[in-house]
Symmetry: C2
Subunit: 167 residues, 2 copies
DNA sequence: AAAATATACGATACTTAAGGTCGTAGATAG
DNA sequence: CTATCTACGACCTTAAGTATCGTATATTTT
């Protein structure tokens, strides 16, 4: 139900990478794609999107690339997702404010509601946004320290109660 | 990024409907579909799924139908989503624990991480699950009281800072 | 027996995401 | 000046997911 798309995921990887470079050093799309084994085209697309959002800036030409423009501490996950995945980022009642391409059923939850879960959905929406606003992108740029290792090294067992394919 | 699919949405509508019926009264799929203008086939499928999860029980035959089995207060949104949308419900790094049908990129975030955002993703995953565990389905069954009306009745303006297509 | 309902399985169309291709423009290195 | 590297932007193809529809069977009430 919660799913970051590739662009968002690659964006986080790229931001983390750039945040670890000193000063005004730029990073090319190629460098990021090669470093993390990502498809170049999508990486390039992602970086352009990041630039459009104002998170990073670009330098054209040979030896050009991208560099952070804002601190990752200034940007919340809520903001980031809205920019990267569009305003319909958070979801539930497929009918509320149906935008372009959104095929809702007959219910207009706003004022002429039949299904009646509209208000609860809006409420949930606000909670989710609040939750996401409490998370800053800098969390993803932190050192990838190996978490405290479990006593026994069993590749899968520790996760069984929480077997989650995606985050 | 957060998106409830139709089955989940219809499920919430159905659960709410049933929670408002007295005692052991049953509700047919037809009744729910007609009441809320939902496609019958999907509604029926949804109810069967709800039954499989143990949330509701069924009565076969003419005048049969479904009735709640658990209180909606006992079920959290995290549980509900896992049941309705599968264990890969919560999502982020498209590569972690890639299940069947999940096409991840080259990065195995668990131990041989290149992208390095794995740990942060897992951390986020836990936060999201915790968040969703704090929400009970009974919230969706509450009376659909019209929320406090804004002073001026402008169909769209009030939502502009938060224009969200989905919840 | 007939009607209403759940139950189960399958098929199809639509939508979206993911990835790729191509061409253009700008800047540096030589 | 020219070749090369890079960003930039439009378009296309394919794969996956999802909603929707269809059909048949079992079970109970009337």
């Amino acid at each position: 139900m919660i799913k970051l798309n590739r662009t968002t995921e690659y964006g986080l990887i790229a931001l983390r990478h750039m945040s670890r470079k000193s000063g005004g050093a730029v990073t090319s799309a190629r460098e990021i794609a090669d470093t993390y084994g990502l498809p170049f085209e999508i990486t390039a697309k992602t970086l352009q999107r990041l630039k459009d959002t104002g998170l990073i800036q670009s330098v054209q030409g040979a030896r050009g690339g991208y560099a952070l423009k804002k601190s990752l501490d200034e940007v919340t996950l809520a903001d980031f997702l809205r920019e990267m995945e569009g305003p319909q980022a958070v979801v539930a009642c497929a009918s509320i404010e149906s935008g372009p391409g959104v095929s809702g059923h007959a219910c207009d939850c706003e004022y002429d509601s039949k299904c009646q879960i509209g208000p609860a959905m809006k409420n949930l929406n606000n909670k989710v946004l609040q939750f996401l606003s409490g998370i800053r992108l800098s969390e993803f740029a932190a050192e990838a320290v190996p978490l405290v290792q479990l006593t026994s090294f069993e590749p899968k067992a520790a996760n069984s109660q929480n077997s989650v394919g995606h985050l």
